[in-house]
Symmetry: C3
Subunit: 428 residues, 3 copies
């Protein structure tokens, strides 16, 4: 349970808010590379952290992210012409380069130098792992490039999608660090989803409904371990890394690809749920990629022409009460991603955490909130840079492992939790 | 004309408002029995008096109405699994019985007794006359069960529907106690509707546009008598009973079933219009029930899969200007229910009563408001229970009768106004 | 750039606002004649300057504009019956004539004279040039009838449409006095639109992107001259008259019909864009009228049954990126009217003018704002009637002319700027 002011602190990420400033100290996923693939192609409207912006790839192939609106009279540059070396407002021809610098005001004599004085807000972008990343903070505090393993393996080993989630980012993140709901909400999928089924570890999930949580500090966030009973006086551990502010990984299953998420605020009542699958040591198979594209695993199907899920709150997520009753789907909503999203959105645009009742299996959530608040306050009050910005903090792995009961997971899985190129991941 | 604060007092029914408290001293129609017919069936979201709740019938056939949201982390229990003896949240498996008592928290040891401490808000339900009724007030002040005649006759004699009305409850109720609009708005229907036409009394409505109103106090509300001239120095009286807070009956026509309404607030800008038809002494015929199901009489057709009328403000109620011009429909809107709803919704979400101009035929409305305000204030300020909660107050009938001009209706219709099992109703 | 309070002053036009009062001193286009063509036909809802009203033509052919809502209990008279000599509320039969005078309250004895005391707000209408005009100001300050030339030529010489524009009126007006965007946004249309193409003057637009603006005061507003270089030491002048508060004309092209607009506030976030085409000295051809009806020139296609453009913000104006890339359409939006509307709506419901950066080609806009603010303040503070209300101020013409460089346009085009029946217009 949170006090109202703490809930506000955690959920508000607009310009000038403490949590908004925290987010603005990280590289964040902004767009799929496919959205701005073509040099000189159509620009893309993008809202993040309550700021409206425009992304485009100029005729030279350079990527830019600038204020959506022309400095002249406020027209949306989404209608702009992506011309030689910049985007041109279609109203009076003002032209901007990828850094927002105005490079032409046709009505003013070139020699006046007028356009040099006009510059739109812009943020640096970098493309890596099929994702266009943005850094929206002070230039002098820009961190090293993203080092999450999914984004550094060869492209053939990795697959990424995004979907609109119609609620505040925090309740989405909290689902990502909550290993205990898997035994309930996703139990049907554990047996049927082509990207989940068949792993030996699934049986532990299905048989033990009271996982015990142990949460351990990591340099950039937390390792959230959930242990369930296994045979021979052992524990089955599922370990979920969280890296500040919004990166989470799902513990692996057999030789399936590993997956995880970013939960990036659009505004305070919507977020982008980013979903990746990758394999540390082999290419994804055609069957796997086809399954992801078809909306299996943590991916979803879309309303055509959008990144809004086809199953959404307007249609009650196409809930199937007969499947729910039969138990083939635990909640009646199809698909792991939409099972999560449907419940998280049902909490309301911003969950009222003054009314919740947390239990021991919520320890991960409690610790995540605690560290976020602490880091946001340290930044706001003392200018302390938040943890999680360095490559090492980001080079983490989720782990599924069976250990002796007397062995703490931090010790038993120590090596497995660290990502290293070419090293097989630890999974069961 | 009302002062703004009086209009606010009458129209606001959320928790803690004086009128909301008044409503919370009565059994109110909550759901049609058909909505929660199946033991273990799908739960139903329900909003009344600005409170969001969930109704379900458990596997043992018991009905429950509880807070819509799980006590744990605020997920809507509408996604819940209706399992053995309770509804289970699909997120982490917390389970609640029909009284909102938490009976399972799988992650906590059963012996901890944790779940005993968790209880959701819940309200008692009772099923009677095809309706599920709710009492949302203090337990110690729960009134006797509903005794309205339509709900106590054999099921074969009674028929009930509900429809969404997109305006405040009061302007809907005010239509229900306003006998004078019948001569105008519904005059086409008096000649054509299978559930209205053919009664001798209709001619009095069609011939006299200036009814004279006499309003008489009843124990639980009012009798609103509207008299029109009849032959031989007589009056044709139509007497509408109103029982606190929102029950009204339409005066009968010939041997047609008698009908009436409840007007129950959803929030301050929407209400449920409940519409019943019953016959005190005989079964409804197949033709009558078919006509009701087809949207005749006071019933309506729906947007498929919902209780929203097919004719609604988005489509201008499918107004037919040619029929209006020809006079076959007075307003051009088809159907008695939608004729009323279209005009009441056109007043805006909450009618601004500071701008109205009431006349003598509005006496019923004026008196209803007066009694509601008086009762709401007496309850709020002195804890006085409102009238209309006892069976006798609810055992009323509407009456259509021709009386000598010198005979007050309260006297001439005295016996007819009282409902009594097996007694024929007084109608013309 | 404006201060916030100046932007508020200019953009707010509801009752009691200074700019709203200014608008209420002029005859404004209210409806197309075709909307209320039939005596006794369907009434029409109309919102202007944030007031909701109802227009109807009574059985005698008289036009009326009255409050939308019945004085009795607030029902929308849009559902009313347009009967003999007035409109009758379908709820209780109250009847009003075209001046809002109540002429029947059926429930009250005629001899009581009750209905004489009931009068709805109403405004005078006048029909001229295919347009129904309204004057919403104090009766004693009603100006002479409209004298704009398009509305005084024979009907066969003139054509008028209207369309909903989903933004504040001022950003629409500012497009109307901004000659410089033609060289950009509409350059595709100059070569292809049947009502624009082929004029010799177009070439000057297409070749010179830095027009120089000269703005000259007129009695009722401004003449905004934009000159571009022409051959032989001459200037090509395009002169746009603006008449207070919201009338603008587009400079002509060859023998094409002349066109122009009114921009009339519906509320502060929507306006009607009125678009006329007329020829001062000849009938419009069938080909021209067919082209206008098909949405060419400054006209648009509609969502069937409405005046909302088929291309609108819900469908991103059906932008065609391939056509934009190819340059056949500069912004990718088809049609001159929607090219303007799409950009103006993209500024937001009310443009934030505290963030703009105006340049010399915005002189027309700057001067228009200045005169509007000055006139609104003079009216509010000193009761000074605004200019532009007299016929002479309205008898203006737009002009396209080539002049010697040393000849000021005010002099060289002096006669051409004045509308006079039978006189050919000056165009190139």
């Amino acid at each position: 349970m949170l006090k109202k002011q703490d809930n506000d602190l955690l959920t508000q990420t607009g310009p000038g808010t403490p949590m908004g400033e925290l987010f603005r100290r990280f590289w964040l996923p902004a767009l799929l590379s496919e959205e701005v693939a073509e040099a000189g192609g159509a620009p893309v409207r993008l809202q993040l952290l309550s700021e409206r912006m425009l992304a485009f790839r100029d005729s030279n192939g350079k990527l830019g992210l600038i204020d959506e609106f022309c400095a002249h009279r406020g027209v949306s540059l989404w209608f702009g012409r992506n011309e030689e070396g910049g985007i041109r407002c279609p109203y009076h021809g003002w032209k901007y380069d990828v850094q927002g610098q105005c490079i032409d005001v046709p009505s003013e004599p070139a020699e006046s130098g007028y356009c040099n004085k006009i510059k739109l807000k812009s943020y640096p972008l970098v493309e890596q792992g099929g994702v266009v990343w943005v850094y929206m903070g002070p230039p002098e505090q820009q961190p090293p490039l993203p080092a999450y393993e999914f984004s550094t393996v060869p492209a053939s080993q990795s697959f990424m999608t995004k979907r609109l989630q119609e609620c505040n980012w925090l309740q989405a993140l909290e689902g990502g660090v909550d290993s205990s709901h898997v035994s309930f909400l996703h139990r049907g999928a554990l047996n049927s989803d082509p990207l989940f089924k068949g792993a030996r570890g699934n049986q532990y999930n299905l048989n033990d409904f009271s996982p015990v949580f142990e949460v351990v500090e990591a340099t950039g966030g937390l390792y959230i371990g959930a242990r369930r009973n296994a045979e021979d006086d052992q524990y089955y551990w599922r370990i979920t890394p969280w890296v500040m502010p919004c990166f989470t990984m799902v513990p692996p299953r057999g030789d399936h690809p590993v997956h995880g998420h970013f939960w990036v605020p659009i505004d305070d009542e919507n977020c982008w749920a980013w979903s990746f699958d990758y394999h540390p040591t082999r290419e994804l198979t055609t069957a796997e990629v086809d399954a992801m594209k078809a909306g299996n695993g943590i991916h979803v199907r879309y309303v055509p022409g959008t990144y809004r899920p086809l199953q959404n709150k307007e249609n009650d997520y196409l809930i199937d009460r007969a499947a729910q009753k039969a138990g083939t789907s635990y909640s009646g909503v199809e698909g792991i991603g939409m099972q999560d999203a449907s419940l998280q959105e049902s909490m309301g645009p911003i969950q009222d955490r003054t009314r919740e009742n947390l239990v021991s299996t919520d320890n991960g959530i409690i610790m995540v909130r605690h560290r976020l608040m602490k880091a946001a306050r340290a930044l706001a009050e003392k200018g302390v840079q938040p943890p999680g910005r360095d490559p090492q903090s980001q080079q983490v792995r989720s782990v599924a492992i069976v250990l002796r009961r007397d062995l703490p997971f931090k010790e038993g899985a120590k090596d497995a939790l660290h990502a290293e190129a070419g090293k097989a991941h630890t999974t069961i």
